[in-house]
Every structure is written in structure tokens, then in C-alpha cells.
């Protein structure tokens, strides 16, 4: 029995129409199942573009929103039913890293505030001096010099430094799962590696699992063990990262990969691309139908089921209807 588990069972999120101009309910995330335990810490990437549902997924896992259907369970208990103590435990164990290194801070306080708070609230430090020592050590662990960072306001530090302080804060909480929602997209490219390498170090050193949410397929490929590709709320493809990226099966995954601008593929974008009209939403069937090269009449009506290409590679597309069906849980079995 694992000490820690976070499970999504067919969790979905639908937003009701907000205003008269919206047609109806928006299915932000279709039922998805996912399971993370401390038995095998891994980096799971959730790749998708805007509207894919990846941020919604992050909100559900972090408990910032409730699923419309299905369950999100922490150590076997539904998030909505956690006791006060369990809720505190949950908040401590599942930690976020957010996209905007500026907005993550309360500008009113120095950065010390955000580091001291969890030590007090979770009772991790026994005394102020203990807290100080912990903070100093953790800052060094993430590669920062305490003297140069403590006592400063967020505006006095760079985006990269702020993100690292966020990682320090998170470490102080002693989490088991980190949900990183686009943690480096607002940071200079030369600095990203530092943050991402830090995340991986946390996994190796402390056994923390990481859910890395991004639109950048390249970094997802570099650091994750498993990947889930989302398109408009649906899982298009999922499985071991190497397999999915090196031999993609879903037309969307292929398109996503070939659209990554690489310096060793100069001017490779000259080929024609279908124009996307985002306002056309399919009410039934596969969401990718409108743009898909392989779309047939069936795609508009029948929802693609998740099928197993191999033990650790799954795809949801009618092209693979001959393959056996699979449950998403199977996707994320330890390798």
C-alpha cells in the first residue's frame, strides 16, 4: 500500500454557458483517469495547446476546482470530503508551481514571507531559528545564495530567481507531488534548463513525482517519463514519452511535433497547413475532425476510444480501431 496516492477516476470538468454569446456548455476536460503514487516517482508530462484542458486538469489535481463528474481522491478520500486535518495534509503534499513568476508573489511582502509561511502553518519548524536554518539550506539546495535573495522584494529579483524561490518554498513543504503548470514558459530560454533540471533533481533526490504541464513538446520530451497529449479536453495519445514522441500515432501528435520550430530544420514550415477555425466545435465525435487529414464521416459522430498500441503506448483515434481497447489507468503503470 502506498503512503501517498492521488487518483483521478473519470474526472471531467464542464463549464456552463457564461453569457448569451456562448452556445452552451464548454467541455473543458473529458473524463480522464490518472494515478500517481509514491511507489515510483516519475515525471508525467501533460502536453497541449490553449483550450486543451491542461490547466483545468491542473486545477482539479490541486483541488482548486471540483470535477463535474468523476472523482479526485487523495489517499483514497475524495477531495470534497477531506477532513480539516486531511485537507491540510493534502495541501502540503500536493504543491503547485505556477506559470507567472511575478504574479505568484504578494508584492507587498519580501520573499522571506512566502518561505516562512509554510514552516509556520504546517508546523515544520520548531523555532524561528530552526526556520531560518531550513530556509537557508533550501535556498542553497536550489542553487541560490541566501544573502542575495533573503530580505528582497519580488521586483528586485529576476524571473528565474523567483521561480527558484518558488521551488524552495515548495521543498520546504516536503511534498510528494508537484504540479508544475507551464513553469518555464515565462522565463528566458537560457534559464529554463536550470529550473527543469532542478525539478528532475527533486524527483531523483526526494522521490517526488512531477506532473509537468506544458505546450512545449520539446521540453516535455526531454524531461518526462510519460506523456499525455491533450486536444480540446480529450486524451489524444499517451504513454511512455520516448514511444509517443519518436513514433507518434495520433494525427494531432504528429502535427504538434512537426510544428516545433527547430534550428536544425530551417525553413521547414513552407508546407501548407490547414487553417484552423477555433469557433467550430464539434458537439459529437472526435474534436480533431475539423482539421484532421484522416477524418472520415465516422469521426464526426463516434467518439474515439482509447486503444493500446503497445504495453505503454495508447491512442484515441479511429485509425487504430483494430487495436484492443484499454483503460487509461494502464497507461501510467510504472515502467
Amino acid at each position: 500500500m502506498p503512503d501517498f496516492s492521488l487518483t483521478l477516476t473519470e474526472a471531467s470538468k464542464t463549464y456552463r454557458a457564461q453569457s448569451r454569446t456562448d452556445k452552451g456548455a464548454v467541455k473543458a476536460l473529458l473524463p480522464i483517469s490518472l494515478r500517481v503514487t509514491d511507489e515510483s516517482p516519475r515525471v508525467i508530462a501533460v502536453a497541449g495547446e490553449s483550450g486543451s484542458g491542461k490547466t483545468t486538469l491542473a486545477s482539479l489535481i490541486l483541488g482548486f476546482q471540483q470535477p463535474t463528474s468523476g472523482n479526485v481522491e487523495f489517499n483514497g478520500v475524495q477531495l470534497a470530503k477531506l477532513s480539516k486535518k486531511q485537507k491540510s495534509e493534502f495541501r502540503r503534499t500536493v504543491q503547485p508551481v505556477l506559470q507567472d513568476p511575478f504574479a505568484s508573489y504578494n508584492q507587498f511582502y519580501k520573499i522571506d514571507h512566502i518561505l516562512r509561511m509554510p514552516l509556520i502553518k504546517y508546523g515544520i519548524a520548531e523555532s524561528p531559528s530552526h526556520a531560518d536554518a531550513l530556509i537557508r539550506k533550501t535556498l542553497s539546495d536550489v542553487g541560490l545564495v541566501p544573502e542575495q535573495t533573503l530580505g528582497r522584494y519580488p521586483t528586485q529579483l529576476s524571473g528565474g530567481q523567483r521561480q527558484r524561490i518558488m521551488l524552495a518554498r515548495l521543498l520546504l513543504c516536503e511534498p510528494r507531488l508537484i504540479v508544475a503548470d507551464e513553469p518555464v514558459s515565462m522565463i528566458d530560454s537560457s534559464y529554463r534548463a536550470i529550473i527543469l533540471n532542478l525539478l528532475m533533481k527533486l524527483k531523483d533526490q526526494y522521490g517526488i513525482s512531477i506532473i509537468y504541464i506544458t505546450h512545449d513538446v520539446a521540453t516535455a520530451y526531454q524531461i518526462s517519463d510519460e506523456i499525455i497529449v491533450l486536444y480540446r479536453g480529450r486524451v489524444a495519445e499517451a504513454g511512455q514519452t520516448r514511444k509517443v514522441i519518436e513514433s507518434p500515432k495520433h494525427p494531432y501528435t504528429e502535427s504538434l511535433i512537426s510544428s516545433v520550430p527547430m534550428p536544425d530544420r530551417i525553413h521547414s514550415w513552407d508546407s501548407e497547413l490547414a487553417t484552423v477555425t477555433h469557433n467550430l466545435a464539434n458537439e459529437t465525435g472526435c474534436e480533431y475532425t475539423a482539421i484532421c487529414q484522416h477524418a472520415v464521416a465516422q469521426c464526426k459522430v463516434v467518439e474515439p476510444k482509447i486503444r493500446a498500441v503497445a504495453g505503454n503506448h495508447f491512442v484515441a483515434c479511429r485509425l487504430y480501431d483494430d487495436l484492443p481497447e484499454a483503460q487509461l489507468f494502464d497507461v501510467l503503470k510504472a515502467n
Binding site: I194, Q222, M262, P263
Partner: protein, 334 residues
């Protein structure tokens, strides 16, 4: 490619005057562009690339100030022109597409009307139909469906809005287009479309383009010449393929190797340290504190941009004493 000179930037410097200090955001930058040439300026935040972008278009505003150098557009020296003519030249010959340009669309005007606005100041209602053909042609050129013309900006997606902005700002067929991060905040697949739109516009008018960004991979899909900017200076500039396959400046090398690949897994590499604050530049080469190939000279004085190995580079490692800046070999961008 014709050899008509479109823009010549000579020793351009732009400084910001703050109460605390004077910051040199752009430090003696020079380059030329002919018709149809596409230059990419790549740099990280704090490199001065956006300031350079506005300066090229003559749009430098307080608290920034052009403190030296000149800008030549076509035959005209921009700063020597009287105010009125300068504005006219800018409006006619230069198109500037700023960052997050999609936000500059008027939310209460239909798209077609915004096109009209750009084409005709004070034209009476009945004459407006004359412009329909032009508007439709321009919209189609950037790949927009004509039905979008009757809509309002909030009904369009980010990528569509960006393409509208590109179409509107280039409606008078400018000679020079300067676009600062035109695809930031857009999805990867949409980025492709927007750059394609920009390409269509460029090809149609054979304009010179300056594309500013932080993503070399992205720029590589579009430009022919690449300039790498660091702490306000251009540190390396030359033909795209040359720089990508054989980068010489240590910063360029690091920048390229820090790009995560989608083709093979390897260790992610970054550049240790932080770019210097523009108000506290180190003595000597600005990159020296983070450089792994530095020599003694690097901490003493700052190298200037010189021709070497079929490109321009500002690095002591490649500074040969017989630097002849008037070499017969024309390096792209010089």
C-alpha cells in the same frame, strides 16, 4: 534579390535616463538591409532587442533617447528630416508590429472598419467602397477568411487577430517591416500560420523584414540573416545557416545548445549565471562573467564587432589584428 538599400543603421545607441542611472539599452548597433532581406534579432529579456526595434522605426519615446548614430531609410536620413517629413516617411515606409499587437485592435470597431481606418483618413461614407477590393485582397493575403471582416476583435482568436494586425500595418506596402515577438502567447501551430502570413506579406511587397524574438528555432524558420544580441550589443551576425551550423561566439554557441530538441534526448543545458543588469555592465566584455572560453583580455576591454570567419563577431577569440572592415567579401547584413 535586388540590392536596393532599404535601411542602414549606423552606430545607433539608445539610452534610458532614470533617476538612479543612465542605462544604455542599445550600444552602437550597425547593420544594413536590402530589399527582400530578412533579419532576425535574437536576444533574451534585457538584451535591448525591443528597444532596438522601436528605435529602428523612429518610435523611441521618453524616457528612452537616441544618443548617437543614424538611421537611413531608403535615401533619407531619418533624423535629419524635419518632424513632418519624418512622420510621413515613417508612416509610408515602415510598418511596426509590436509585442501583443493583437491588443491594439479597437474592441468596438469591426475588422473591416479598422482596415478602412488605416487606409483613409476622413474619407466620406460613400467613397469607402472604393477600398473594399484592397481590404479583401490584403485580408486574403494573410490567409484570413473574408467572413471575419464583419466581426469584432473579441470574436477572433489570438492568431487571427495577430494576422489582422499584420495586414493592417502593412496595408500601404511598406519597405520595411519590423515585428517584435509577433507570435508570443500563441500556440505552436498558430505560430506557424502567423509567420506564414508575415511571409506572404513580405513576398508580395518584397519588403525588408526585421524579426525580433527570443526563440532561435522560430526565427530560423523565417529569416536569412541572424543577429545575436547581448546586453545591448550585437555579438554575432551573419547568414543564418552559417551561424546555426557553425556558431563562433560563446554566447551564440550556448544559446543554440540550450534549445531542447524534439528529435533526441540529451541533458538539458542552460547558461549559468544571469545576464548583467544594463545599469551595471561589467568592465570588458559583457558576457565574460558567464563565458567558458574567456581569455585574459576579456575582462579588460570590450571587443567590437568585426568581420571574421564569414560573419561579424564581437569576441576577442576571433579578433585578428589585420581586421579590414572594408573587405571585398560582403558579409550578409553588412
Amino acid at each position: 534579390m535586388s540590392t536596393e538599400l532599404i535601411v542602414r543603421i549606423s552606430d545607433l545607441s539608445v539610452t534610458y535616463e532614470t533617476k538612479a542611472s543612465t542605462v544604455t539599452a542599445v550600444n552602437e548597433v550597425s547593420f544594413n538591409l536590402n530589399r527582400g532581406e530578412k533579419l532576425g534579432i535574437v536576444g533574451e529579456s534585457g538584451s535591448g532587442k525591443s528597444t532596438l526595434g522601436t528605435a529602428i522605426c523612429g518610435l523611441t519615446k521618453y524616457p528612452a533617447r537616441v544618443t548617437s548614430g543614424s538611421i537611413q531609410i531608403g535615401e533619407q536620413m531619418l533624423f535629419e528630416l524635419p518632424q513632418k517629413e519624418r512622420r510621413a516617411t515613417m508612416l509610408r515606409d515602415i510598418a511596426y508590429v509590436p509585442q501583443a499587437a493583437m491588443n491594439s485592435l479597437n474592441p468596438s470597431m469591426r475588422i473591416r472598419d479598422q482596415f478602412l481606418d488605416a487606409l483613409s483618413r476622413g474619407v466620406s461614407r460613400k467613397d469607402q467602397n472604393r477600398f473594399d477590393d484592397i481590404i479583401e485582397a490584403r485580408a486574403q493575403r494573410v490567409g484570413l477568411d473574408l467572413s471575419l471582416l464583419t466581426r469584432y476583435p473579441h470574436q477572433l482568436s489570438g492568431g487571427q487577430k495577430q494576422r489582422v494586425v499584420i495586414a493592417i500595418s502593412t496595408i500601404l506596402s511598406p519597405k520595411l517591416i519590423v515585428a517584435d515577438e509577433p507570435t508570443s502567447a500563441l500556440d505552436v501551430i498558430i505560430q506557424r500560420q502567423v509567420l506564414k502570413s508575415l511571409s506572404e506579406v513580405q513576398v508580395a511587397s518584397n519588403a525588408a523584414v526585421v524579426l525580433i524574438g527570443h526563440d532561435i528555432g522560430l526565427l530560423a524558420q523565417f529569416v536569412d540573416i541572424l543577429a545575436v544580441m547581448y546586453a545591448g550589443k550585437i555579438v554575432e551576425m551573419g547568414a543564418l545557416e552559417t551561424l546555426l551550423t557553425n556558431p563562433k561566439h560563446p554566447y551564440t554557441k550556448k544559446l543554440i545548445s540550450s534549445i531542447p530538441s524534439v528529435l533526441r534526448r540529451s541533458n538539458l543545458a542552460g547558461i549559468p549565471g544571469l545576464p548583467p543588469s544594463l545599469s551595471e555592465l561589467p568592465v570588458g566584455c559583457s558576457f565574460e562573467p558567464r563565458c567558458e572560453e574567456k581569455i585574459e583580455k576579456c575582462s579588460i576591454s570590450s571587443p567590437s564587432l568585426k568581420v571574421a570567419s564569414a560573419r561579424k563577431i564581437a569576441c576577442w577569440l576571433y579578433d585578428s589584428d589585420d581586421t579590414s572592415t572594408n573587405t571585398s567579401v560582403r558579409v550578409r547584413g553588412s
